[in-house]
Subunit: 352 residues, 2 copies
Amino acid sequence: MKIKKEVTIYDLAKELNYSPSTISRALNNHKSISKKTIKLIKEAAEEMGYRPNNLAAGLRNNKSNTIGVLISRINRPFMASLISGIEETARKAGYNVLISQSNDKYENEISNCNALYDSRITGLVVSLSMETIDMGHFQKFIDKGIPTVFVDRVPDNFNSYKVVIDNYTAGYSATKHLIEQGCKRIAHFAGAQHRNIYEERKKGYLDALRENGLPIEEDLIIYFKTMSFEEGDKVTKKLLKMKNPPDGIFSANDTAAVSAIMCAKKMGVNVPHELAVIGFNDDPIASIVQPSLSTVSHPAAKMGAISARRILDHSGQNYDTDLSEITVLGTEIIVRDSSLKKVHALESKPSR
Amino acid sequence: MKIKKEVTIYDLAKELNYSPSTISRALNNHKSISKKTIKLIKEAAEEMGYRPNNLAAGLRNNKSNTIGVLISRINRPFMASLISGIEETARKAGYNVLISQSNDKYENEISNCNALYDSRITGLVVSLSMETIDMGHFQKFIDKGIPTVFVDRVPDNFNSYKVVIDNYTAGYSATKHLIEQGCKRIAHFAGAQHRNIYEERKKGYLDALRENGLPIEEDLIIYFKTMSFEEGDKVTKKLLKMKNPPDGIFSANDTAAVSAIMCAKKMGVNVPHELAVIGFNDDPIASIVQPSLSTVSHPAAKMGAISARRILDHSGQNYDTDLSEITVLGTEIIVRDSSLKKVHALESKPSR
DNA sequence: TAAATTTACGCAATCGATTCCGTTGCCTAT
DNA sequence: ATAGGCAACGGAATCGATTGCGTAAATTTA
């Protein structure tokens, strides 16, 4: 098989008797090139099958029109939607998207960071790995003026763009909702407390209990490692076997919440009447499980879009831009069947 | 804020009194550089904060150590796992991954194709958009000897690497399973027939009916547009209102299958006894819905890994390599509750 | 010991696009 | 008629890494 040679602006220049400078300018609609020359050159480029070489342009300009994404795992509904939002926004602006997943390992995060840096990305979007504490590997981006946007799982000791939801209020509202439904002993499935999202959700939970005169029982706060289905199942079983079991659960994610519902059903505990459950994320499984899972919805794709936009907008700015801008998005409590103890004036609309 | 200047191999050369050639060779472990020089240079590079510039290297070598991915949508469980598999394999080999989604639009597929080409990707992994029929936009990759791997949704009139599952056998087995459970009138939720996966699943369905002496009824074959939950709900309602409704459904995806289960339950039709259902993909919702959904499991991450490997392995080969190599992976029927009419010698293990 | 290798490196071109300085020709105002 | 201005384009350096070819010194071989 023969490999076709590439068509460059030099080929175009030779063919059309123009200089490479003019070809380049014409293709970029430079104002000092006449309309008809531009038209002529573009048509010839099209016809000869010319395609720009991003590597060459990137080298010259020292940037690549590429947004780097560094997340824990792609195959989580939230993350997939996040990437989707980034990709959509980036592509509309003519940017590409490089992805990498840390699998929640600190080491991988570092090496991926380097790999993305080596590709001279225009900007970086990060959702921290579970293990990450030290933020040194991100410093080189700041030093080089590469806009870095932390999203969802963000650091609290590092000055950079951030896009988050109001986890505290979400945790508070979710817990409050259970209280309003008549729950008196509400357990909390908590995630690793060094990650902002889990810490704040828990704070919201605690304050909701306090402000509504409910006691805080350490036994009812379960610290998860992975918040997996299996872990949730095990924990729920234990909780429900207590002499004085909880009558409500606020889980920091949907996976564990769903496992709680299914475990309760298996054990003959009625959801929501004996155990009301509310989760977090509004994953697809939330509307499928029965009783359907009440949860907190998370504007994942929107967060991705905003993160990408931060990077795109950063280019036009001067370097005194305030990098510490934080975007906080609202969440929404989605009330479904798993928390609906009171059958009040709620229209009986389908859960989906 | 001051922007730090980058450290290049020229800076290293000046600092260490070597030529840039030697620096470059040392960093690449070239054999003509002595061990101690390599060690010296590498340590200095580390200390001075040198980071290679992929754009420069890529321009020189005319490739970027990047795998391009072109899929319909990222936020589908199958696609997310596919990407995850690609990313993992690519990264281990020191490759980056560029993603793009077509949102099932032919036009987007073309422009994304160009964008990826312009970045001089080393190889391309594609799962075709729903609309794609003409394959012209992929020709430039072939012409340039860029390995292109079609995965899952593949063309049948284009000569290139392919990684697929045996959709025919899967469709056959799924249908056969329903027959073995005693179903006599099995409906099929079919996808767009110009996409191989849906066409073959349907063929498998038809042959299973034929070979087991069941009549084929066109009324029971529903051609979906999007295979969404809503579409599945509507279709199921219609089916179950027939004077002679089906007693089984083989759906070409899980989303529609789950909607069928939920719709049946709402209408008071017992699943599996009055209506057995089997889906396709083994999405997370499959094990959550109740009764849990029997389905065909799809090795998504593995398919991604294999696709990436095709590209990585292609480099070492000469250009007479057979590009038409096709990898066919097996599938597995996951029997859960939605299809289990007969309570036979199956251990009553939990659905998950 | 002279010749033949081998080791360890340097020179300079190269990849393709961009851009800072020009330069040329033509039009306009005085 | 001539200076001034502008439109339209060209020359050549530049971005950073790679590599074929060349060479001096060190080592081995005859």
